[in-house]
């Protein structure tokens, strides 16, 4: 966490509540995007995003900068809020119960080359394929490749072990490759 954020959190805790606006402005897009992606519903995503920030505000004294960045802490709150919301709708996200699909063997070097190539046509296909993935799988890809979070940070957010996150990411990557290589 940067010193600016540390200073802002201190100011909020000192009674300057309007300083929280800075944190909302900084992180609202990231939280909202993840929520929209998970729910597929703009209204629901808006509601959960608001709840996330309010919860973060009320629990700000519990935040410990030594244990991780503010963004990771905030995303963990967002993830829990989303889970609670989905539980209310009797739809528990299967993130922690992802099926370990059996994936046919593929050459690792070929997969690396495939995902590193600057092919525009392949990029379009890949973006389309991402939209067809289950939201919980896309969430892992988002957190890792888009949010640039480490495996440890994703583990902190989702509650999965870092090793499990790594294995799941490998499987998703391989499945995408197998789906697209023959197109």
């Amino acid at each position: 966490m940067n010193t600016n954020e540390t200073d802002i959190i201190s100011r909020i805790l000192g009674g300057e509540h309007d300083a929280f606006r800075y944190l909302v402005r900084t992180y609202q897009d990231r939280v909202f995007a993840l929520m929209v992606d998970l729910t597929g519903d703009t209204d629901k995503a808006r509601e959960v995003t608001q709840e996330t920030f309010i919860r973060a505000y009320t629990h700000l004294p519990d935040y410990d900068a030594s244990r991780g960045s503010f963004s990771t802490w905030l995303l963990a709150i967002a993830f829990n809020e989303m889970r609670q919301e989905l539980r209310k709708l009797r739809h528990i996200p299967p993130l922690l119960h992802l099926d370990d699909h059996t994936v046919e063997p593929a050459d690792d070097a070929a997969i690396d080359a495939f995902f590193d190539s600057p092919d525009e046509e392949r990029l379009k296909q890949l973006a389309q394929a991402l939209a067809t993935l289950p939201p919980e799988e896309r969430l892992l890809l988002n957190l890792f490749y888009y949010e640039d979070l480490s495996l440890k940070e994703i583990s902190d957010i989702t509650g999965m072990k870092a090793g499990t996150v790594a294995t799941r990411l490998s499987r998703i990557r391989r499945r995408l490759y197998l789906r697209l290589k023959n197109k």
């Binding site: 909020i12 805790l13 000192g14 009674g15 509540h17 309007d18 929280f20 606006r21 909302v24 402005r25 609202q28 897009d29 909202f32 995007a33 929209v36 992606d37 703009t42 808006r46 995003t49 608001q50 920030f53 309010i54 505000y57 009320t58 629990h59 700000l60 004294p61 994936v103 063997p105 690792d108 997969i111 690396d112 495939f114 995902f115 590193d116 190539s117 600057p118 092919d119 392949r122 990029l123 890949l126 973006a127 991402l130 939209a131 896309r138 890809l141 988002n142 890792f144 490749y145 888009y146 640039d148 495996l151 790594a166 294995t167 990411l169 490998s170 499987r171 990557r173 391989r174 995408l176």
Partner: protein
């Protein structure tokens, strides 16, 4: 299968681009989101407290004080109890010590035996004949033939038992066994007489 590590973020450029593009296609954050959140915070949400309120500590301290008081009061009330109740357990405590002395002594002996015998087995493995050069070089003595043992005498058959002669009794004494009572019976009779004497009743009434 390669396992993803943190360095993979910097590879997989195509995947990163694709995810970025996918994110670009998602609906944007509503413009009034920030205002809504801040309004809710200002109106409904309590401000975060940097420190826990003092009354919580006060409640915990009061509860602890109550507990201490209860603990402190209890022993003083027990002092009023009679001393007999305290003395009795002391007497009972002495007895087991005396009775336990014997088993202790009996338990020590087997341990000593184990200590004497066990190290011998462990520390001195007996060498085989092949390993011991002194024994291996000695000429092997001829084995003496085993002498035949003396023949066992056949057991003589037991002599037939003599028939028991019938006891002759006179017709005037129909129950001879009852005429002379056995020792315990005579003692009982004597006791019985003594009891009757004490009670003022004579046996020869």
């Amino acid at each position: 299968m390669t396992t993803i590590n943190d360095n993979h973020q910097h590879q997989d450029r195509l995947l990163r681009k694709a995810i970025g593009r996918y994110h670009g296609s998602l609906p944007h954050t509503p413009s009034d989101m920030e205002t809504d959140i801040m309004r809710r915070i200002a109106t409904t949400v309590k401000p975060p407290a940097k420190h826990r309120p003092i009354w919580r500590y006060a409640v915990v301290a009061a509860a602890a004080a109550m507990l201490l008081l209860i603990v402190a009061i209890r022993p003083t009330s027990s002092e009023d109890k009679p001393e007999v109740a305290v003395v009795k357990p002391k007497a009972t405590l002495v007895k087991p010590n005396v009775s336990l002395a014997k088993p202790k002594a009996s338990l020590v002996e087997p341990k000593a035996e184990v200590a004497r015998t066990a190290p011998k087995k462990a520390s001195q493995p007996q060498p085989t004949l092949a390993q011991n050069p002194a024994v291996a070089n000695q000429p092997i003595k001829p084995i003496k033939p085993i002498e035949p043992t003396k023949p066992i005498k056949p057991i003589e058959p037991l002599k037939p038992a003599k028939p028991i002669e019938p006891v002759h009794t006179t017709p005037s004494d129909p129950i001879p066994a009852a005429a002379e009572p056995s020792a315990p019976q005579s003692l009982l009779a004597a006791n019985h007489d003594r009891m009757l004497d004490k009670m003022g009743i004579y046996a020869n009434y």
